[in-house]
């Protein structure tokens, strides 16, 4: 296998991966950033509408304490105090950096920075760029900066098969260049995972095609611990029709009214004080409960009426309004049919304040990392997390790499999972299973058994079905020519990662015997007094789950 040497390997090139690269590049270390899709254009960052932040635009009453209090309140006891502290301490400086590098914030008619209110933030602190295409704007700024850094190399269309270790620490990765189906061993001093979330483990999701949970599977195999993987946010109000926009988040739900099939404004029953303007976990559970009781729309959701506030919707959420209009849905005169869609995983790789995982040499940032948002992420805190912890990861990895004398040059690195993947691909001519169909099977079962409202019986059923898909994956059939880019191979590797990540989610969900945050098990509807985290690991090839107190 050909070898590539770098100091820091960054896997993923959304806001977290690019921020990590750019801040790491302030050192003299060599950085290689890879992405299984197009660099800077393939993750969830692209669709992010606004970013929550403190800065010159902050309201008089806003403060580090107020912001931190909102995150912790929303986290239902599961937000890490260390991580929330880092977020609020660092956010304004990171925003300042972005502004210096060319980010332009949206302004109102008086030329003041536009600051929007968001459900769960007690004080308005959401700002935006490019008229609500904030994620895209941040990516453009970071990509430009990465291109101008002589010590950053970028490599698109490369998927990671396995992280490899030497002397108890992560020392590289086996990757496959999809362009030519050629595998490489990358040797490095530190690895930063910024591979995003898990939306594609579900059939209805707001997430891009690449959100197949690769980083969770990779880090488990490398021995790292995952925290609270059962905490998955379902964006409560995502389009059901038209199918081509299925999963699209209607970010303006706090400006709209929701009705069940009988025309009842049902939030009156669940949250009479806040109505629709509540946190995502509560709204998703309310909508899913209405549908379970047979009060849903024909498509299995609820009706969204934005007509009363349409001018505000057009102003703040223009892209969404226009997209619906282009597909024949005029929100100014018609109801939209919407329901919960997999949106964000609050759980993830267990990190410290410097974004270091529990495995030496491995860092994680952005949605791949867990513990900041606890049981519910507040709107617009995803981008904030990416730039704050991306920067932390980049700086800390650069410091650690600079202290290390050399890369593990010549040390034999053991691989296991990668060998198996490569072997299955080589022998796939005799196979019978389509890889895309295996992915679809995971999505179907996760949607059916591990959705908003869960039960122990369904979770056990999910566990059994995932096992069956794992076995099928050994019999995958790849028909396309081995010398070229093959979507079948990409789908196969993603399916392998999806299965491991799905197992971690189900194991964590089975272990949490209560309902807390986004995890709602109807067999355990109450929230326990004592707060515990679920910690998933793979030890000696076997997945284990423990419960721990404050982490």
């Amino acid at each position: 296998m050909d070898e590539i040497i770098t100091d820091i390997l960054v896997i993923g090139s959304g806001a977290a991966g690019l921020a990590a690269s750019v801040y790491a590049a302030e050192s003299s270390q060599q950085i290689l950033v890879i992405d299984k899709g197009a660099i800077g254009r393939s993750g969830s960052t692209v669709g992010a509408v606004q970013i929550a932040s403190l800065g010159s635009w902050s309201h008089r009453e806003d403060s580090l304490d107020a912001y931190q209090q909102d995150i912790r309140e929303s986290g239902r006891g599961l937000s890490s105090p260390v991580l929330t502290d880092v977020l609020v301490q660092d956010i304004s400086a990171r925003l300042e950096d972005l502004l210096q590098w060319g980010l332009k914030l949206d302004k109102n008619e008086h030329n003041d920075i536009l600051v929007a209110a968001t459900s769960g933030h007690t004080i308005p602190r959401s700002i935006s760029s490019k008229k609500g295409k904030t994620g895209l704007a941040i990516l453009q700024v970071l990509t430009k900066r990465a291109k101008n850094s002589s010590n950053i190399k970028r490599w698109s269309d490369v998927i990671t098969l396995e992280l490899v270790k030497a002397n108890g620490r992560v020392a590289g990765a086996v990757v496959l260049d999809l362009k030519e189906n050629k595998s490489y061993l990358i040797r490095c001093k530190t690895v930063i995972l910024a591979t995003g979330g898990i939306g594609q483990l579900y059939s209805t999701t707001s997430n891009p095609a690449q959100s197949t949970g690769d980083g969770f599977a990779l880090s488990l195999t490398a021995g790292a611990a995952l925290v609270d993987m059962e905490q998955i946010q379902f964006y409560p109000v995502s389009l059901i029709h038209p199918p081509s926009l299925s999963g699209l988040c209607l970010s303006f739900y706090h400006l709209a009214k929701l009705y069940n099939r009988n025309g009842e404004r049902f939030m009156d029953k669940y949250e009479p004080e806040t109505m629709e303007n509540t946190t995502r976990d509560k709204l998703a559970i309310a909508i899913a409960s209405e549908v379970e009781e047979g009060l849903g729309t024909p498509g299995g959701g609820v009706w969204v009426d934005a007509t009363g506030n349409i001018e505000e919707v057009k102003r703040q959420f223009h892209h969404e309004y226009q997209l619906c209009l282009d597909r024949g849905l005029d929100l100014a005169s018609h109801l939209a049919e919407a329901g919960p869609a997999a949106h964000f995983i609050m759980g993830g790789i267990w990190i410290d304040g410097d974004a270091a995982s529990t495995t030496p040499g491995l860092y994680a940032a952005g949605e791949s990392a867990g513990g900041l948002h606890g049981g519910n992420r507040l709107g617009n805190n995803a981008l904030s997390e990416c730039i704050v912890f991306g920067a932390r990861a980049g700086k800390a990895a650069a410091r650690e790499s600079a202290r290390m004398k050399s890369i593990t040059d010549g040390v034999p690195l053991q691989t296991k999972k990668a060998d198996k993947i490569i072997n299955v691909i080589s022998n796939s001519e005799q196979g019978t299973e389509r890889s895309y169909a295996c992915k679809k099977a995971v999505q179907t079962l996760m949607g059916k058994y591990v959705g908003v409202v869960r039960s122990t019986k369904e979770l056990l059923q999910a566990k059994a079905e995932i096992k069956a898909i794992e076995e099928k994956l050994d019999q995958v059939k790849i028909t396309s020519s081995p010398d070229f880019y093959s979507k079948e191979i990409l789908d196969y590797i993603e399916a392998v990662h999806m299965v491991t990540t799905a197992q971690a989610i189900v194991e964590a969900a089975l272990t949490r015997k209560e309902s807390r945050g986004a995890h709602h098990n109807k067999n355990f509807p109450e929230q326990l007094t004592e707060v515990k985290h679920t910690i998933v690991k793979v030890e000696n090839g076997k997945m284990t789950v423990q419960e721990e107190g404050e982490v």
Partner: protein, 99 residues
């Protein structure tokens, strides 16, 4: 149900033709997905966000550059939906351009 003929210019100077169901409201990307799933597993294409933001799914649609996730799958003037990779830059395979 009426049918839609899709012609795709592919790698190695190959052009393939497929016949799929013509569905109202189906995007070009959904048509390409249907071909990969049900007709030709070797077809290579790229996309990410499905909402017109990332622009990675851009291709020539009936001769004009467009986002496949945004354009409807409809026949062009000659009665077929004609897809091809963008003309500029290196084509990795079929509809995928190097980025």
């Amino acid at each position: 149900m009426s049918r839609l003929v899709v012609k795709i210019d592919r790698s190695e100077m190959r052009t393939d033709q497929y016949e799929i169901d013509l569905k109202t409201g189906r995007t070009v990307l959904e048509a390409v997905e249907a071909i990969y799933h049900h007709h030709d597993p070797s077809l290579a294409y790229r996309y990410s966000c499905r909402t017109g933001l990332c622009t990675t799914c851009m291709m020539l649609i009936n001769g004009k550059p467009g986002l496949s996730c945004m354009k409807m799958a409809e026949p062009g003037e000659n009665g077929v939906l004609h897809l091809a990779p963008l003309p500029k830059g290196r084509t990795i395979k079929d509809l995928i351009k190097e980025v």
